[in-house]
Symmetry: D3
């Protein structure tokens, strides 16, 4: 029973997230030979002010681009 | 100091969540012999569109029932 | 499908861990009304040198007791 | 590539959270000698009703203070 | 920067795990349009005695099959 | 009660890890004004074959440097 947690910055569409989780499920079925029903995925989505990379929040990084 | 993280789909009442966390605390006190004050639990709650099982989001699975 | 992750310092017996996970499963079944088969728990166990509380590693804290 | 996840009760200002993540990035750069750009931090913030310590939710604990 | 954590029972080959993580990377690149270099995945692997489903450890479940 | 989980590739010394966790504790005390005793940190360390970035495992990336 692999459980997958995805830490993700807010901003993607529900369709992007659905497609991503469906393809991840397929990756586990293909490589581990498990039944899709045992693959559970959760996205923990965070606002841009709650994520940081390189010492800058994603809010600050977005403002620079 | 056990720290417990619960990935949970949205939809339960606060009373269900409170009762669940209280009983989990009791489970750790009983089995590990720790003081309740060192048991910390956090629920990371996700909307149904952010969780998938068997290649279907919880939104899609709910629509089928 | 609640997924539970437990961050735990090394040092407990397999029986303590089994009993803890069984009682946690019961807590979720009782409070959320879910089937036990959808409750998945994983212990991420860490050596005492990989955990810190109050600025002291669990190794340092254990040496002081 | 260290990835840091912080489980945090709601209630802090964005400036507190920004400063905390910036200082954590500095801690990893100083101690591990990594480039700041490989340090990624996410705060998973929970409402007070979704966190428990000592068998009391943070909502209950706050009401007692 | 999506960070993916996979809670996985011990027992798979390194090649299965490598293939799984490579296909997960491709899933994120395809659906989110991110650069592969920002996709970071970690497997937290647990011995069968540290995982439980349906009130039985994976050790107990394996013995029954 | 902030709980911090650090996903880290194997290979650092215990002193690097101790120093990193001590400085992270100081970062939370300084920015959140909490007591050090409520700051709990766990490192979930993974072998290089259990971590991937840019579609290459850390084992593969290390071999290339």
């Amino acid at each position: 029973m692999p459980e997958i947690t995805i830490n993700l910055a807010a901003g993607r569409t529900d369709e992007q997230k659905r497609g991503m989780m469906a393809d991840i499920t397929a990756a586990l079925v293909k490589n581990l030979g498990v039944d899709p029903e045992v693959v559970v995925i959760q996205i923990n989505e965070a606002p841009l002010s709650h994520k940081m990379k390189g010492g800058k929040t994603y809010l600050e990084r977005q403002a620079k681009t």
